[in-house]
């Protein structure tokens, strides 16, 4: 198995596929089938990453390491741990769904649409797999371009404003990332991310780097108060764009915390963890309240995404207070693994919810909640699936949405009662905005004849949503296979995080 450069394949097969799809030009049917073929092939190629993964190994697996730009000691270095492996699987799966979901709802420049998603898939996987900071940065920046185009070309009415806002916002973060990486390069003469994990840095250096990383990744997550690009981007993006944005792109920010911030500047993080915890709690409460009053379905789900990502960032940063309060790491891994599970689960659920909005939008061309009502009657299958995903969003036990939040709240209790208290308010607030949405869209009476006669999901839509529903339930009922692959990686990370990196320490 190791003979095959799996990671390179899952990066470059979709990119090559994307180029091939672009070449299909105006032949829409060919473009669709090619895209489907490449997306499916990539998903199949990514599966051995799970089956061949050894949970007992603490370091990186499926490693590929070649010299790239020797003058600067930049290497083509790939590898995954349990966290990035799961995120890669999520990427390959989501992309396949997006291709299928866009099958006949996208009619404008089909080949370019499909091509953009495939290329973006490869780039995003590149971010998750890169172990060289320069390589990471290249993928990180390159990934913005297809998304920028997807919003700007296939988006709604205010697509240009949103696309530029998206680009500038995230680019602002990227600049800080670049500065941080360059600084680390000059300190260590290396672009190896794993070298940075061992690099000694003074507290001042660490604090400056902490803020650079925080800004770079917080924009992407996004965390309050740098979140306002997300609702706009989601509202304007086409369905596929929203799915990838919510399911994968947001995860990149969280992943950055795990790969860069925590292990590289642990002493600063331990001093300033309260910043991230406070921002996470604000996301959980403030954003949930804002979500409550949205009139646009996509905006509501976008805000809900921010609130759910708050759980991920919270889970990652609990370790310091737990260590400080109890003197041991017990309970920290629970929160950390919970945060990763939350990332995966949020990928399923938010992706599914955006696909649901897409299904409705394709039929009625409006996202306004008030334009819908009582769709349970004309669309019973769709309504059932939507309620299921809503319950996932609410974190009902038995769905994947429960697992991560449960673990993080349990872990937060060890850190501080009040952190757990505020985090647990999501039980009420999350239910409030989600169920109110369900009440207004699914239940009640149809406000117009057209709504009363909406056709139910077709086979293609049913398959896409159905497969997500199975995953949401499966992970909810049996999260063991997901959590199990994380133990080694998380333990390893936590060891790094509590070890001081101050010089001489």
């Amino acid at each position: 198995m190791n003979a095959l450069p799996l990671l390179s394949l899952v990066i470059w097969v979709p990119i090559a596929g994307g180029v091939a799809v672009l070449a299909a030009g105006r032949r829409d049917a060919l473009a669709r089938w090619l895209a489907l073929g490449f997306a499916a092939a990539t998903l199949l190629l990514s599966l051995p990453l799970y089956t061949g993964f050894d949970p007992a190994v603490r370091g990186m697996q499926f490693v590929e390491d070649h010299a790239w730009i020797e003058a600067f000691n930049i290497r083509y270095h790939l590898g995954v741990d349990g966290i990035s492996m799961l995120l890669i699987l999520l990427t390959t799966y989501s992309t396949l769904l997006v291709v299928v979901a866009g099958w006949d709802s996208v009619r404008y420049r089909v080949s370019q649409y499909m091509g953009a998603f495939l290329i973006m898939e490869g780039l995003m996987i590149g971010v998750f797999a890169a172990l060289d900071a320069a390589l990471f940065y290249v993928f990180w920046e390159a990934m913005l371009i297809p998304m920028f185009l997807i919003i700007g070309i296939w988006g709604g009415e205010r697509r240009v404003y949103s696309a530029i806002k998206f680009f500038l916002y995230t680019f602002l973060g990227s600049v800080f990332l670049l500065v941080a990486i360059l600084y680390l390069y000059f300190q260590s003469d290396s672009f190896e991310i794993l070298d940075y994990h061992r690099l000694a840095l003074t507290q001042t250096e660490q604090i400056l780097l902490f803020f650079a990383f925080l800004l770079a990744f917080a924009v992407k997550v996004p965390m309050w108060p740098v979140h306002t690009w997300l609702p706009d981007a989601h509202v304007e993006a086409p369905t596929g764009g929203s799915v990838i944005l919510a399911a994968i792109m947001l995860k990149l920010g969280a992943y950055g915390f795990v790969r860069f911030l925590l292990p590289i500047v642990p002493d600063a993080a331990s001093q300033l963890d309260w910043v991230v915890i406070a921002l996470s709690l604000i996301a959980i409460v403030y954003i949930a309240l804002v979500a409550l009053v949205q009139e646009d379905m996509k905006k509501l789900i976008a805000y809900s995404s921010i609130a759910h990502m708050g759980f991920a960032t919270l889970g990652f940063f609990l370790v310091f207070s737990i260590f400080e309060r109890t003197g041991s790491l017990e309970g920290a891994a629970l929160g950390f693994e919970g945060a990763v599970v939350q990332l995966i689960s949020h990928g399923f659920i938010s992706g599914a919810l955006f696909l649901c909005v897409g299904v409705l939008y394709d039929r009625l061309h409006t996202r306004r909640i008030a334009d819908y009502g009582g769709i349970a009657k004309p669309m019973p299958i769709f309504a059932t699936l939507l309620v299921l995903f809503a319950m996932g969003n609410v974190g009902l036990p038995g769905t994947s949405g429960f697992v991560g939040e449960f673990m993080v709240v349990l872990s937060a209790f060890r850190a501080d009662f009040w952190i757990a208290f505020v985090a647990a308010t999501t039980l009420v607030l999350g239910a409030a905005y989600t169920l109110w949405l369900v009440k207004r869209v699914v239940f009640g009476t149809a406000p117009s004849e057209r709504v009363a006669r909406l056709p139910d999901v077709n086979l293609r839509e049913g398959m896409v949503l159905g497969s997500l529903a199975v995953l949401v339930l499966l992970v909810g009922v049996w999260p063991d296979p997901v959590v199990d692959v994380l133990h080694g990686s998380v333990e390893n990370l936590l060891q790094h995080v509590v070890r001081s990196k101050l010089p001489g320490a």
Partner: protein
Amino acid sequence: MKSVYVGIVLAPLLGTIVTGLLGRWLSREAVHRICIGGVALSLILSLVAFFHVVGGGETFNEPIYRWMFSDGISFEIGFLVDRLTALMIVVVNFVSLMVHIYTIGYMHDDPGYKRFFSYISLFTFSMLMLVMSNNFLQLFFGWEAVGLVSYLLIGFWYQRESAIYANMKAFLVNRVGDFGFLLGIAAILMYFNSLDYADVFRAAPLLQDVTVEVIPGLEWSVITLICILLFIGAMGKSAQVPLHVWLPDSMEGPTPISALIHAATMVTAGVFMVARMSPLYELSETALSVVLVIGALTAFFMGLVGIVQHDIKRVVAYSTLSQLGYMMVGLGASAYAAGIFHLMTHAFFKALMFLAAGSVIIALHHEQDMRKMGGLKRYMPVTYWTMLIGCLALIGFPGLSGFFSKDAIIEAVGESEIPGAGLAYLLVLLGVFVTALYTFRMFFLTFHGEERMDPHAREHLHESPAVVTVPLVLLAVPAVLVGWLTVEPLLFGGWFGEAIRVAAEHDVLARMGEGFHGALSMVLHGLLAPPFWLAMAGVATAWYAYLKRPELPELAKERAGVLYRVLVNKYGFDDFNQAVFGDGSVRLGRGLWQVGDVTVIDGVMVNGTARGVGRLAVVMRLLQSGYLYHYAFAMIIGLLVLLSWAVAA
């Protein structure tokens, strides 16, 4: 035995899955046969389990599969089947089966027939998972899953605005309870490092003196904190003041589920949970006192509201609230067995009352207002007699099941020395009068007196079909007998064994047991005791005010206007919640959005930056005039400044 236990939960689950996924291709008969078959099988297996456990079989406590492993803790799905569980699964499955059968008649003309069966089987599965759990994770799963099905069923008629308002309200209020419950579970994991009941109960006494500082300067016993947090969950699920507000509204759902979920089973989950946690609650008198007082307040004040309701189902719903309060009072007095005993008898007679009310409702073509009923005795004899049995059982008429359980609770509170017991005793005693009053008010208004329905409805009046009346009769049997048969072993025979633990100094049942000489003497003794006379006074008042002098209630309404308005407004809980939590959070959300996101972050910070850059560019452009002498002048000035700085340095 493991396969039997797995079968108990899987049988109804399979019914749900098959009818839920394949429902559209199955006939109505096939759907109800599959679901009823599943529950019937589950009931048979429960009886096997029951007799196994009662016959001295080992308590089963084993994992079924590993849900997750993290941080050195194994989260398992597993079953604990001791006598408490065995009793619960038999009650749940029996009532569920009756309701399944009854549904054939009640939902006969409903287009959602198949969906309904699929839901109630799912409910049965969830409830069984809850009561059979051997750990807090699965308990929470069942806890929330029954809430989900309750949500789906309250909103079953999803085109009714009132129904979908009620179901959202039910879910959210329950979530407030679950919020506490989840924190309680988190506390348990932190202090016990396990979510397994057995581990927790074993270690609990060691933590008796450990304290925690939740609010600076205030030391709390850890056990008290845990118990109160868990009890907040029970307050949501078992509808205790002030989280009771969802239960009356839940009557928007079809009547069979009011019987099954909102009377007999789900709402008693909180009572079951506290009894299950008796090894914890016994360690905290503060927590017991909270349970006792909240229960007593619910028992009395919710009963009062029942007196002013016109909707027949709402009367029964307020009665359920009140009776749940009684159960809680029993638990708070450390008479866990009495609480569970009342849970069981209540399940039978209250399910009976709901189903009888439903029988009336269908006979009158979905009329629920008692002002349009009256004199139904003549038309519906089976419903009449079974309802009468239910009502007598509810008011605790000596000999019927409710008498044994309720009297035991009242006596236990009288004996109890938990702080607050004095107040609670007074409230539950007065509650007996209130119970009899609202119950027989409902009974007389419905079955006796003037026939107030419209003539058209009267023409079509007839007794309900057998699928409706047979469950009524089958439920009436335990409503009469179950108290007689089980009072001795359940309350005084230590029947629950290790399942319920009571500290010696709290053990009021043991003290009462010394004076117990069999069911018959308890009945005879009951005829002389104050609760009986209070109940009779209640019945007599109802008779006088609603049959003899029907103009009296109107008069009382005018005389006691304030009290009447307080009761009709249900003490203002609903208005308060809507204004403060409902409208308040929307207003807060809108404020945060418009001021925080739109104005400050986007307006000033983001777009402001963009505008700022634009303005800066305007200024900068002025500098780049393109005239050579401007540039030359600037260079000279700059050079001068630089030089002078260098010289000065």
